[in-house]
Point group: none
Chain length 192, copies 4
């Protein structure tokens, strides 16, 4: 009766639905995502889900935003020399990959889908920012003499991103492969 008793459940429900969809995508991919299923797992009717997300696509978008937000934290609040920034950045990502590998699986899933679905291409823009930030840090480091003039900041940024993004392909099935790749990258960069 008192609406204030139910009001708090609404945002929680939204988040629960996003979480459930996120985990389902990680486990079964976009192919295996059924709105009915995730509604049922949250304990509500399939039709009720449409009160929170008018369409399946809207739910997916919310998952995308959730994933992006989680990942952005990996490059937030970093301080130190450029070499330290790169090192901390890669370490953060690596830790995240160990603690929650599914995050990267879903990221890859989204990335792949973004090639066809214009709505998901937000993720592309995020990567542009990310690439810019990496390039800037590397350039700063080169100017400070941390890295030799042979290191091309743009190229190195691309290598880092490609490696991290590709991680979703092994994060669950063969995590040591990622571990090794990142380790090698750090050695090449001299940031170990």
């Amino acid at each position: 009766m008192d609406p204030s008793l139910q009001a708090p459940t609404r945002p929680d429900r939204r988040h629960a639905l996003i979480q459930m969809a996120y985990q389902t995508i990680a486990k079964k991919g976009f192919e295996g995502l059924r709105v009915r299923d995730i509604a049922a797992q949250v304990g509500i009717n399939g039709a009720t889900l449409h009160h929170y997300f008018p369409t399946k696509e809207a739910l997916i978008q919310a998952v995308v935003e959730y994933v992006i937000a989680r990942l952005r934290l990996a490059s937030a609040d970093l301080t130190g020399t450029p070499a330290e920034l790169i090192h901390q950045h890669l370490r953060h990502l690596y830790q995240l990959m160990k603690s929650e590998p599914t995050l990267f699986v879903v990221l890859t899933e989204i990335h792949l889908r973004a090639q066809r679905d214009p709505i998901l291409q937000v993720i592309m823009q995020q990567e542009a920012y990310w690439h810019e930030w990496l390039t800037k840090v590397l350039r700063d480091g080169r100017e400070q003499g941390i890295w030799s003039a042979h290191l091309d900041p743009t190229q190195a940024a691309s290598a880092i991103i490609t490696l991290v993004e590709g991680a979703g392909l092994w994060a669950v099935t063969l995590p040591q492969r990622i571990e090794q790749a990142i380790e090698q990258m750090e050695q090449w960069l001299g940031t170990t």
Copy 2:
């Protein structure tokens, strides 16, 4: 009348179906793969497709085999010093990526799906062979003094594979990113 006009129909049809399925997966992903559509685009009835592939899964498997076969050529018939082998290998892959980027998109799609579909995990085994081959070449090179003792062959092999496999995420939308990443990798390896 002329039997040569129709004789090749059968094997061609099979191949045409594989090709069409391959392109559809590249364009729309596994989600967008409909046997009826594939059949229609090849100009046959949906039921006829089942003459060539008893089930949708069989068709997918044929596509997987096709992709693997195409990629295996990139590491075949290479000769020279370890550094040359690595260089040629990466160049072949890079050329393939430029001439047929969809190949890598489909590869990534398959890779992702293989995490859930045991039948597709053949791909994983192929990668194991690939990793062994790369490790061996790198180890040979290190023993020959081409690379310093600091280079860990296993780690470097993982870095190369992760980078190449992740390429499917940009091969179509942002190919220069791959170009840069590979270029950087070659510089680090000194195989430019």
Copy 3:
């Protein structure tokens, strides 16, 4: 507007579907049973049928239960001497056969199918009970001197069941054949 017009919709629909399936089996056999047709004849979409019965098999099972329930009434609430019990039992079945011959047609259809479909073998168990009941009544009658010691209760029960079950083969096309057969059986039993 008037809720009483739509309120009974749900349970009625279920029953209407069972009825329609029952009649279709009687008319066209299991071969001719199409869920789409049943749904259409009840005035709903084919997909809606799956709200009431998740699968075709579930619908069939409901029909089986319906048939069994209808038939069980023929041996319920009977009172009197063993001879009277047998007489009333056969009369009830005979009346049912005249008023609703399709019931026996469907029963035979189910019986035949039960030989291959384990799920339908519930019918078999019902027959075991029926046979036990008949045997007991006949034995009681023999002990009371109603039937001579020459009458083997088990054999006679088998004869009665075989005759009644076989009735489905003529109930519609040649009902007098059943009428005659039952009449003869009653004369042999002296229960006319």
Copy 4:
């Protein structure tokens, strides 16, 4: 090349197909009858079957004729008094039921189907002849004083037929039930 070398295979093939269809109907019913399957089991292509039987229905008809022919033998070449005729007839049928129960299963299957399929109603006519023959034998016996005047030949014939036809429902799953029923019938008729 020499057509006489292949000629003998043709009628054999026809018969083999009928046999295979007959056994399939016994095992899986009409629902489970697939022309492709029985063609394959005989070792020929599904399309080739249509050279022997233009349509599935034609094949089924051939099976019906086969079943009828096998059953007719049970009342052929009988000699003796009316009581002996009835006894021998029932014994023949009983022996057949023990040696080849599937024959009766298929008969029931056909009988049931004949209610809807006019083409299969040949079987009904056969039963008419059968009923006439039984009635005549019983009438002869009554006139000769073998059976009392209380026995109605028509009714008794109906009882016998109903019992024998219904046998297909148990011939395989519960053969002792038929054994008991026939035994009881013989006792009532005094032909043991």
